[in-house]
Symmetry: C2
Subunit: 295 residues, 2 copies
């Protein structure tokens, strides 16, 4: 077995992603010698103890990070600034600070100004998830075969960047490096906009269900079922994603709206060729994904 | 085994749905004594012969329907009027004419005026499908446990309506009766709008993929993958669905657009409460579907 990457690794937050990291670290043994978990809610802490997910369970994040050479934020991105203010003075010199948030520009914006000298910030985003949340939802295979996008800063310490990449390699992920702005654009279209649409159409259907005496819910066909699977996601996480990737999400929503209106106009005017072209493009993208084995 | 429902049943069109009906009829034996298949393309006819899907394979639809006591249109809804003009004079007195189209108002509009006296029209819509098409894509279990919506006309012959319902019961479906206008509204929100959105977002992503040098396709996360599965559907079928359920699709697109813009406005203004409420509604609908065992 390889030498553990970290001597003492602190997970700040222990939901689906944090508890999956804890589980893969326990299973492999070469990620951290000691796993520290900190989270604010007493029930969650108790559950972490019951599940045996950590060597050390500590309610106070400032105490939890003391002496750790690795710290991973696994909380909703909107909670980063407050958490950082609380722990900054307690971070060990030389420690690697990373995260798993779905937005990266906001992470740089919120954490960089509070970063103590000698602590290395390397943001990352494992592109994996399910519609379930909480410490019971995690499993060690969650990251296998999925991409993890690492977004180092121009002045990030190369050894710290390599350590974060190696962490995700050991979790089974494929590593990609990107700047935070490109990352935020890409996830806005492949993940954030589809979620916005799924949440929205569920509401639209809910309004209509009242009018049609629930026939809508009864006949939810396969198209709509796929949308509701997406729409079952965690509230706090997704609220923070939308609020912290605002510009990119609004840009993608605007592009999508223009395209949807053009489609609607073609239906109104009976433009068969335009409609066929749009359907063909969907099929083309689908084929691209299948060739890339992402579907 | 029960007495076959039809003596001679003609399937006009033999794609995913038609070939699934043929397969369940062959498997059960109590749907039709003789299965006739007609389709225009020579390759498809040859494939039907190879697959052994029919007792009689006939390229000319007018000849195919002669002497049949049951005829099912399994072609894109935009092709109904032409097909009906071709076969109307050849339909046997007392025959039951039904279909499997995803729009029902257009079917009544296109077929009723051409219906010979003594032929019974009972439109139906089995709510089942996959993203695959053609005679190879069908399988006998496709309709099992899925709803089939039957939309009889006010003057439909009760015996003919019962025959169509029994056909779908024997295919394993649950039967619901609805008027065509309500049907068209319900499917516009649960199926047609989700498909319009999926086709559109694939195009939006495709445009963006050119700008980001394909990073978008590479990182298609789970949200987007679900959308592309929907977007892989058959071009002719979906073009005709949009053109033949125009009013309901445009109404649902308009409702959805208003809701999506309201969501975007909340993001722009940082209204956390509004966003949380929308996400909660998505989760609520998801829970409703799970309770109804449709998810």
């Amino acid at each position: 077995m390889a030498e553990p990457l970290f001597n003492r690794l602190c997970l700040v937050g222990i939901g689906l992603i944090g508890s999956s990291i804890a589980r893969v670290a326990q299973k492999r043994g070469d990620i951290a010698k000691t796993i520290v978990v900190t989270t604010r809610r007493a029930e969650t802490l108790a559950r972490v103890r019951e599940l045996g997910l950590a060597d050390v369970v500590e309610p106070d994040a400032a105490r939890a990070v003391e002496g750790c050479d690795g710290v991973i934020f696994c909380i909703p991105v909107g909670a980063y600034a407050d958490a950082m203010r609380h722990i900054a003075a307690h971070l060990a010199p030389g420690a690697v600070l990373t995260d798993v948030g779905s937005t990266k520009g906001s992470v740089v914006r919120d954490l960089s100004p509070l970063l103590p000298a000698g602590v290395h910030l390397v943001p990352a985003h494992p592109m994996a998830g399910t519609e379930h949340s909480g410490p019971d939802a995690g499993f060690p295979e969650l990251f296998e075969g999925r991409y993890c996008i690492v977004t180092p800063l121009p002045d990030s310490d190369p050894a710290a960047v390599e350590k974060v990449k190696e962490l995700w390699r050991r979790c089974g992920s494929m590593i990609e490096t990107m700047d935070p702005i490109t990352h935020d654009k890409v996830v806005a279209i492949v993940s954030h906009l589809p979620h916005l649409i799924a949440f929205t159409i569920c509401g639209t259907a809910d309004d209509l269900a009242e009018e049609t005496k629930e026939a809508v819910l009864k006949f939810a066909a396969s198209g709509f079922r796929d949308f509701t699977r997406i729409a079952a996601s965690d509230v706090d996480m997704w609220r923070d994603v939308f609020l912290n990737n605002r510009e990119a999400v609004l840009e993608m929503l605007s592009r999508f709206s223009e395209d949807a209106h053009a489609f609607g106009r073609a239906i109104r005017r009976g433009e068969a060729g335009f409609i066929e072209d749009r359907i063909e493009r969907g099929r083309k993208i689908r084929r691209s994904l299948i060739e890339r084995k992402q579907a």
